[in-house]
Structures are given as structure tokens and as C-alpha cells.
């Protein structure tokens, strides 16, 4: 077990990629804090599933875009599980629309959760990692940060923002034994992509060289690798998990 005695916090872990990341980190031996905002039931199910496989997990509710809630949530995790070794900034939302009609609040909410949320949670977790000279921060971006996607200027901007954020933070903390990396999933089977209109789904799928959507587990495996000591010399990089879709 690669991650035995490690503590991980995964934001947005009740569903989709975050859920798979929480489960795979636990399978590798980490104790996992399963963050959620609204989906309490699904978050508890993730915790129970981890407990069933003999792992340790807690649900922790906070909105990543709310600084005070973040501080409280991180404290709660550290009291229950110990100092956080692995942070996965996964919480993300979409509010799609063509730019010319995009509302202020659609822009702001997406940037606020996807980008500012990663900043707030990272800032709350980092002092502990710096003190202990160890940390693994993995930010979940998206293929659209690189390829672009009509109707997703806000989402793509937030996900591209995470890349610059990660690269810069990687330089700041490199001498502290803390690595910061990005995983950029392509088209993955989740509630988020299930919400796409059938035509858009088909169009996207037809562009995937591997001819199929990815699974959340396939993304989670990349995250577990970056969280492990096997990735100890990797920082500031982007690992694309996209079946060849660009």
C-alpha cells in the first residue's frame, strides 16, 4: 500500500471524478476526507464504501468558495485524521453558455468555485505541509483548458487558470518537499458530462481517438500516481488523461 499513513483531502468528492479519486486514494491506503457541499447522502456513501474496504474516511462539508468555511473544514479534517499530506482540488461546476449571452453570475460562480476555491483550500492546507516539509497537491483541470470549447469560456478559463496557478505554486514550494501537479481529464463519464445534450455528447465522443469516454477511475489512477512517492521528482506538470482527445 503506497499511501499508508497518509491523509488526503479531496474536494467535491461525493460524485464523479472526485468520488473515484477518494476511493482510489483509500484503496492505496490513505485516510480520506470526503468534501461535499450539497450532496450529503452521496458523500456518506463514499465514506461507507471506504470503510467497507477497511479504510478510514470522514465526510466534511464546506463550500470551497467560502474562506471561513474552508478554514473550519480544514481544521475539522486535521483534528479527525491528522495533518493533510495530499490535497486534491477537484470541486468544479459548469454554467455553460455562449459568451455573448453569458451572465455575470455564471462567470463569477464558475471562477469562484473552480479557481478561487482551489486557491482558498490550498492556502489553508499549505502551512501544515510547509512545516512538515511534505505535501502532494493535485489540481484537476480539463482538456478544455487546452483545446477550448464553445459555450465554456468560463469553465475553460477557470481550468486553464489552475495550470498557471499550479506551475507557479510548484516553484514557490519546490524546496519544501511539496509537489504541485495538474491532471487534465478529457471526456469522462460523470454526472457533469451526462448533463450534456445527446448531440453534443456524440460530437465529443466522435472526436476521441480511443473511441470511448474515460472512466472516473482512469483519472483517479493518475491522481494516485502523482500522490505517491513514485512521483517524487514530478512537479509543475500536467498529466493528460484524455484517450488522445485534444
Amino acid at each position: 500500500m503506497d499511501l499508508a499513513h497518509k491523509v488526503a483531502l479531496v474536494t467535491g468528492a461525493s460524485r464523479g471524478i472526485g468520488r473515484a479519486v477518494a476511493l482510489e486514494l483509500a484503496r492505496a491506503g490513505a485516510a480520506v476526507a470526503v468534501n461535499y457541499t450539497a450532496s450529503e447522502g452521496p458523500a456518506r456513501e463514499v465514506v461507507q464504501e471506504i470503510e467497507r474496504m477497511g479504510g478510514k474516511a470522514i465526510p466534511v462539508r464546506f463550500d470551497v468558495a467560502d474562506p471561513e468555511a474552508v478554514a473550519r473544514g480544514v481544521k475539522e479534517v486535521e483534528e479527525a485524521l491528522g495533518a493533510i499530506d495530499i490535497l486534491v482540488n477537484n470541486a468544479g461546476i459548469t454554467r455553460d453558455g455562449l459568451l455573448v449571452r453569458l451572465k455575470d453570475e455564471d462567470w463569477e460562480r464558475v471562477l469562484s468555485v473552480n479557481l478561487r476555491g482551489a486557491f482558498l483550500v490550498t492556502r489553508a492546507v499549505l502551512p501544515g505541509m510547509m512545516k512538515r516539509r511534505y505535501g502532494r497537491i493535485i489540481n484537476i483541470s480539463s482538456v478544455v483548458a487546452f483545446s477550448g470549447n464553445p459555450g465554456q469560456t468560463n469553465y475553460a478559463a477557470s481550468k486553464a487558470g489552475l495550470v498557471g496557478f499550479s506551475r507557479s505554486l510548484a516553484l514557490e514550494v519546490a524546496r519544501r518537499g511539496i509537489t504541485v501537479n495538474v491532471v487534465a481529464p478529457g471526456f469522462i463519464e460523470t454526472d457533469m458530462t451526462a448533463a450534456l445534450p445527446e448531440k453534443a455528447r456524440e460530437a465529443l465522443l466522435s472526436r476521441v481517438p480511443m473511441g470511448r469516454a474515460g472512466t472516473p477511475q482512469e483519472v483517479a489512477h493518475a491522481v494516485v500516481f502523482l500522490a505517491s512517492d513514485r512521483a517524487s521528482y514530478i512537479t509543475g506538470t500536467v498529466l493528460h488523461v484524455n484517450g488522445g482527445l485534444w
Binding site: 510547509m130 514557490e172 514550494v173 524546496r175
Partner: protein, 78 residues
């Protein structure tokens, strides 16, 4: 442990230098090899140890071990 001893211990620990090197005239950057994040860590450690807040403006003026000793002595007295 006196305030001075605590400060010296924290500096030695954070900058990974021996306590003998932590002399009042020693500059963090030039003599003790600190980078900007080391300085931030040092400030955070002082805040935690002495239960005080140090503003960015105040922190910028703390260039030597002596600066920190004076600063903490003043603040702890208050």
C-alpha cells in the same frame, strides 16, 4: 525558556542552521541563506509561538536576527 531563546530556536529550526549562527547581526538572506518563503515561514512561526499578528509591512523590516529580537521584545512587552 526566555523570549530570546525561543526566537533563536525557531530561526535555527526554520532556516536549518545551527543556533550559534543565529547572531543578532546575522542577515536572514545574506548570512543564513533564507529565501522569501523561508521569511514568510519564520513570520508565521513567530505569530504562532507568541500569539500575535505581524503585518506584511512589519515583516518587510525584519532583515536580521536582531530586528526580530527587538520586534518580539517590544511586542511581548505590550
Amino acid at each position: 525558556m526566555s523570549v530570546e531563546e525561543k526566537v533563536i530556536k525557531i530561526i535555527a529550526e526554520k532556516l536549518n542552521v545551527s543556533e550559534d549562527q543565529v547572531k543578532p547581526e546575522a542577515s536572514f538572506v545574506d548570512d543564513l541563506g533564507a529565501d522569501s518563503l523561508d521569511l514568510v515561514e519564520l513570520v508565521m512561526a513567530m505569530e504562532e509561538e507568541f500569539g500575535m499578528e505581524i503585518s506584511d509591512e512589519e515583516a518587510e523590516k525584519l532583515r536580521t536576527v536582531g530586528d526580530v529580537l527587538n520586534f518580539v521584545r517590544e511586542r511581548v512587552k505590550e
